[in-house]
Amino acid sequence: MEIVYALAIGVLTGAGVWLLLRPRTFQVLMGLTLLSYATNIFIFGMGRLALHKAPVIESTNAVDPSLYADPLPQSLVLTAIVIGFATTALFLVVLMTLRGTTGTDHVDGREP
């Protein structure tokens, strides 16, 4: 599982960086989105990968941390997703407005 997980992060990051360096605004947007996926999965992975473990600790059972997944990275991911999503939406608005005002989808606002 770890190797698949790591490969997924690597592929997403690689594709994201490549798209980020492209000249079209939509490609840049896609690159940022892929990068944010990679980052979110990475944060999640930092809580250690575990199967069939709840992130919520039940007070009735004896508390043994090894029975549970780390809840903190999951909450960090949630926050990061929300913030990334909002800023990407804002970027989409800027992208459309720039397209409307300059008539081109090049990131510099004019064709090279």
Binding site: L20, L32, S36, I43, P73, T87, L90, F91, T101, T102
Partner: protein, 546 residues
């Protein structure tokens, strides 16, 4: 009284949040109420900043031990709960931010804030993000406050949609989003290794790591440092900055002058708590020198005054980074003094740019050659208002035009130039001299001669290019033909004058200021008191054993 004072720490975050939210419920027509709220909030923040300055000083040591105040949000103490921490450095930064924000807010009232509904709310949220970043004691919280600040700054930058501004805004957003992802990766790596995000707790946990984990931790810290340096505008991560700052409207650019210092503050805070080693110091030093040199050269090539001022922000950032990179504890206090002056001066200069632009008969040339200034103004159309002209003076505004306009503009211009380039008799000279003489003194004891002389040479040369570039623009601006004399309002002239006077006051009372900054630097370089204060069990919190 004691109980009330404990809650003062959260006010710099709470006041702008409440004011910014309350404004959302006011209709566009109720401009007076909104302005009252906005200015009231800024004045309150300034008052709180001054109160924090006093509470963290030695005279008030009966309230907080060693001048470090901790506020556990939600009543849970560190390391599990989220805490806000105020020490002398945070108090200085909050007061500085409130000063800049208040003056730019007053300035913006004269013409720049319309349509005002989004502008004023965004401005409040910007100050909230900045204050929060100065106060937080938690790495992930730092990220959240950075994002609050950046999200507000995106909106402010894009206000009044025109093509060049949109283009600069897009670059700004992309670079900062990418930097935010780096920030997150760094935070996640650190959490994955150390298992905590509380800065004070991290210091202890990092020291106890095994060598393999330590390498991962250092990698995380380095990635975090890159994210901070993007915000701070360090070379080679700063090519977005001149475009964004010079395209922003004048008060927004002035408020942005504070934002790069948030990155610097984070470098300083995280660096001192985690105990940065000398490799990081060397990297900071050379990055700072590179920033300084490239920005000084770029100043010679800039045509437009706002762009020139943006480069001078980079020059001062280069000086700050390079000096901190020397890693001499005695240098921190002069560096802070220089930073305060440079923030105040750049803010005043950006605001001045907004006024001198109006002496032009034609619209100002931009450094980009495409002349496609967009005719469509979606935002203004959306609000059903005529776009206020920035360069023409034809609106019937309330406010008194001030006499002797050109003399005032010229005087302010000269003061700003002297302050920025560090020429006597204005205090910019004291700041630069203090930095350089302290650096030379430290070099005498140790072997770091070459680095110190490199720094001094670069600082002096950057001052020279600054004088050349600024005086060239100044001659064209004030002695060139084909100029019109703009009508200035007291509301826009006064903030610039106040900021310049404040710089002069900082020069006259440099003694007490330096004393306070010295004590701030001392407590910064003894992170143990900070760590102990944060990790001490909070009053009223459940008995958490760290």
């Amino acid at each position: 009284m004691d109980l009330l004072l404990r809650h003062v720490i959260v006010l710099p975050v709470l006041i702008p949040l409440l004011a910014g939210t309350a404004m959302l419920f006011l209709s566009e027509a109720r401009r007076g109420t909104r302005i009252l709220l906005a200015v009231g909030s800024m004045v309150a923040q300034l008052a709180v900043g001054c109160l924090l300055l006093f509470l963290t000083s030695d005279e008030a040591s009966f309230i907080w031990q060693q001048g470090v105040g901790v506020y556990a949000i939600g009543g849970w103490g560190a390391p599990f709960g989220i805490v806000l921490v105020v020490d002398r450095l945070s108090a200085v930064m909050i007061t500085l931010a409130a000063t800049v924000a208040l003056s730019t807010m007053v300035y913006s009232i004269s013409r720049w804030d319309r349509p005002g509904q989004p502008f004023h709310s965004l401005f409040q949220l910007l100050t909230m993000g900045i204050n929060g970043a100065f106060l937080t004691g938690d790495l992930f919280n730092l990220f959240v406050f950075f994002e609050v600040m950046l999200a507000a700054s995106y909106g402010l930058l894009l206000k009044g949609v025109v093509a060049p501004r949109l283009k600069a805004g897009m670059h700004y957003i992309v670079v900062n989003l990418a930097a935010s992802f780096l920030f997150l990766i760094g935070v996640a790596l650190i959490y994955g290794v150390a298992g905590t995000l509380n800065m004070a707790d991290l210091a202890g946990k990092a020291a106890a790591l095994s060598s393999g984990d330590r390498a991962l931790f250092d990698a995380g810290a380095a990635i975090l440092g890159v994210a901070f340096l993007v915000k701070a505008g360090s070379w080679p991560l700063n090519f977005w900055l001149p475009g964004a700052y010079s395209q922003a409207s004048a008060p927004v650019a002035a408020a942005f002058a504070m934002m790069t210092k948030v990155g610097l503050y984070s470098v300083l805070r995280v660096g001192t708590i985690l105990g940065a080693d000398e490799r990081i110091g060397a990297a900071l030093f050379y990055l700072g020198i590179a920033t300084l040199v490239t920005a000084a050269i770029a100043m010679l090539g800039a045509k437009h005054l706002a762009r020139l001022v943006a480069y001078s922000v980079l020059v001062s950032m280069g000086i700050l980074l390079a000096t901190l990179g020397l890693q001499e504890d005695v240098l921190t206090a002069p560096v802070m003094y220089y930073m305060i002056l440079s923030v105040l001066t750049s803010a005043a200069f950006f605001m001045l740019t907004g006024m001198t632009d109006r002496t032009r008969i034609t619209d100002p040339p931009t450094d980009v050659e495409d002349a496609s200034t967009g005719e469509s103004q979606p935002i203004y159309v959306g609000y059903g208002i005529k776009e206020p002209s920035v360069y023409r003076d034809d609106d019937d505004e309330i406010g008194i035009p001030i006499p002797a306009t050109m003399a005032f503009l010229g005087l302010m211009f000269v003061c700003c130039v002297l302050l920025l380039t560090g020429l006597p008799p204005l205090p910019g000279f004291i700041a630069k001299f203090a930095v350089m003489s302290t650096a030379v003194q430290t070099a005498e004891g140790t072997g770091g001669h070459a680095a110190v002389w490199l720094l001094c040479g670069a600082v002096l040369l950057s001052g020279l290019t600054g004088v050349i570039a600024l005086s060239r623009v100044g001659m064209r601006l004030f002695w060139g033909a084909a100029r019109i004399t703009p009508r200035l309002r007291v509301l826009e002239a006064a903030p610039v004058a106040v900021l310049v006077m404040l710089c002069l006051a900082l020069g006259i009372w440099a003694g007490p200021v330096a004393q306070y900054l010295d004590s701030a630097a001392r407590s910064l370089h003894q992170p143990d008191t900070y760590i102990e204060a944060v990790l001490a069990p909070q009053e009223g919190s459940p008995g958490v054993v760290p």
